[in-house]
Amino acid sequence: MRTLMKGNEAIGEAAVRAGCRCFFGYPITPQNEIPEYLSGRLPEAGGVFLQAESEIAAINMVFGAAGAGARVMTSSSGPGISLKQEGISFLAGAELPCVIVNIMRGGPGLGSIQPGQADYFQATRGGGHGDYRTIVLAPCSVQEMVDFTYWAFELADRYRSPVLVLADGVLGQLMEPVTLPPELKPDNGNKPWATTGCRGRKRNVIKSLYLNPEELEAHNKKLQEKFGLMQREVNRAEKYRVEDAETVLVAFGISARISMAAVEAVREEGIKAGLLRPITLWPFPEGILQSSLPKAKKVLVVEMSAGQMVEDVKLTVSGKLPVYFYGRTGGLLPSAEEIQTQIKLLEVKVSERSLCQA
C-alpha cells in the first residue's frame, strides 16, 4: 500500500519501523517535522522521545542509549550537526551504533534555512576529531528516505558505527507516495557488549580513551580494518544512461534528480549524456563510477555547494578525464536548464581543446 508522506515524516516513520524506540533531538529548520512526528509516534509505540537542551546533549543521550543497547536516532541540520561532531567522534571511537540524520541547509555560519549540500566534506570525512569515517547514505526521493533510514539502522548495528543519512531541505519537505517497510520488533538485539547492568556476566565498559600509545594504535588499526570492510561491502550508486554517454554527470540527492532531467533533455537534442548518482557518499562508490565511464570524454559534477564531492570524483577519475563542476550555493537549486547549458558549453570546450591539440 502506498501512502503519501512528507520526506521528514517518512524518515520518522521508517525509524520506528526499523525498531527504533529512542529519539533525542533539538529543533532546527528544515528538519523539524522529524522530531515533531516522532514526539507523537514514539510514545504511542512505547518508545522514548526527548527534546534535549541542545544538539550536544542530544548526541550524548544517543551515546548513552546506544551504549545501553537501543536502536537510537537523532536528526538536525547545519549548525546543529556541527555541534554534534564531538559526540559523533566519541560514538565512532567507542564503536556505538546509531543513526544521525542531517537535513542540510545553507551555510556557513547560520547561513540560511534553504536547502544545501555543503556538508558533504563534514559528513564524508568523519566530521569530528581523530581518524574515523561514518557511512553516509544520500536519498533522492521520499521513498529512499524511508528505505535508507531503515537500511541505516541495519548498517549501524552490523558495523557498530554511527551511520549518517544526508538529505536536504527540499527532500525533507517533499510530499511523495511511499511504500513503507514491515515493522520490525524493537529488538535491542544481540549486543553482548552493551552496558545493561552486569547481571550474570563480567562488567562491560564503553569507552574511547586509550592512554597507552600502543593500545590506541591497536584500537585505531581495528577501526581502520572496519572502515576497510565497509569500503568493500557498502557501495551503492545509480547509473542512468551511462553506457554510451560521452558526458557523464555525477550528482547526489536532489541535485541528481535535477541532473537526470537535464540528461533527458540534452539527449533529445542528440547529446550523449548520462548520470551517475552516488548513494553511499562514504564509502564513495569509486568502482561504480569507474565502470560508468566506458565512452566518457568528460565528467560534470553538479552540487549545491561550491564544489565538494567533485574532489572525490577527481580522485576516482585520477586525471584520466577532464572533470568539470557546476554548483549553486545560498540555498538555490541548480535548474535543469542551467545544467543543460553547462553540458552544452562543455561540448564546445572539448571540441575547442581537440582543435588546439590537433
Binding site: 550536544i56 548513552g64 545501553a68 566519541f90 547492568g197 562488567r203 562491560n204 565498559v205
Partner: protein
C-alpha cells in the same frame, strides 16, 4: 568478629592512579559501599567523566560508560530512558559539571531525570594540571590565576547545589565533605539517600562532595584536608540543601 572494614565488592582490585592523599579514592569507596549495601551492583550503570576520575571504570566492578567532558548527565539520561529499571549515576568533577557541562546538569535536574550525580568539587581542574575552575575560591592560586582568582575579571565561584535546588525536578541535593572521618560517615549517608531516591523512582538526586587536590593546591595531603575545612566550607556550606520528599 563483629565487623570488617575492607574493600567493597563493587570495587575491583586495581590500584588507583590518583595522587597520594587525593580524596577521589575515598569517594569511590563510598559509592562502591552504597552500591553493595543497596544490592544493586548488577543493576547499576555508571557514567565516568572527563577529569581525574575518568578511570572510574577501572575501579568500580560494574557496567560503565565513559562520557565526553561535561556530558555525563546527557549520557546517563540516554541510558536511563532505555533502562528505566536500572540504577544510573554520574560521577563528575567541578570543571566537568560546573563549567563545560553546566547545561547538561541543569537540564537533567530540571527534567527530574531519575539519576544520581556524585559531584566532586575540588575547586580546581585536576587532570589538566591545576587551572582555575568555576568553583575556584576568590583569591585562590591556580595555574591560570597565578595572582589568585580575581573576581573582577574571573567572577565568582558557583554554588551548584544551591542553584540546582531551585529546580522543581531536583528531589535530593546535599553538600558534604570528606575532610575527617565524621564527615566521611555523613557523606556516605547522603550518598545512600541519593541512590535510594533513585531506587524509589523519586527524581533527580545529587551529592556534592568537597574534595581535595593536594597536588594542584600545592599542599601535603593532611594540609589539604585542613585547607578544605578552613577555606572551602565557609564558601560552600555543608547542608542537606534540598530534600523535597523528606527521604
Amino acid at each position: 568478629m563483629n565487623a570488617v572494614f575492607a574493600r567493597p565488592r563493587a570495587m575491583t582490585e586495581q590500584k588507583t592512579h590518583y595522587c597520594p592523599g587525593c580524596t577521589h579514592g575515598i569517594i569511590h569507596r563510598m559509592v562502591a559501599e552504597v552500591i553493595d549495601e543497596l544490592g544493586i551492583r548488577e543493576d547499576t550503570v555508571g557514567v565516568a567523566p572527563v577529569g581525574c576520575a575518568v578511570f572510574l571504570y577501572n575501579y568500580l566492578d560494574i557496567d560503565m560508560q565513559e562520557s565526553a567532558h561535561g556530558r555525563a548527565p546527557a549520557v546517563a539520561t540516554g541510558i536511563k530512558r532505555v533502562l528505566p529499571d536500572r540504577i544510573v549515576f554520574t560521577y563528575q568533577g567541578d570543571g566537568d559539571l560546573a563549567s563545560i557541562g553546566t547545561a547538561e546538569i541543569i537540564h537533567a535536574a530540571a527534567r527530574g531525570e531519575n539519576i544520581t550525580t556524585v559531584f566532586v568539587n575540588n575547586a580546581i581542574y585536576g587532570m589538566t594540571g591545576g587551572q582555575m575552575a568555576p568553583t575556584t575560591l576568590p583569591g585562590q592560586f591556580t595555574s591560570t590565576s597565578k595572582a589568585g582568582r580575581n573576581t573582577q575579571s574571573a567572577g565568582f565561584p558557583i554554588r551548584v547545589s544551591e542553584m540546582l535546588a531551585t529546580l522543581e525536578g531536583a528531589t535530593y541535593i546535599s553538600r558534604v565533605s570528606v575532610h575527617n572521618p565524621a564527615h566521611v560517615i555523613r557523606a556516605k549517608k547522603a550518598l545512600l539517600k541519593a541512590f535510594t531516591v533513585q531506587k524509589q523512582g523519586l527524581g533527580f538526586s545529587m551529592v556534592e562532595v568537597l574534595s581535595t587536590c593536594p597536588t594542584n593546591w600545592g599542599l601535603k595531603p593532611t594540609e589539604a584536608l585542613a585547607w578544605l575545612e578552613e577555606k572551602m566550607i565557609p564558601y560552600y556550606p555543608l547542608d542537606e540543601v534540598k530534600n523535597r520528599l523528606e527521604v
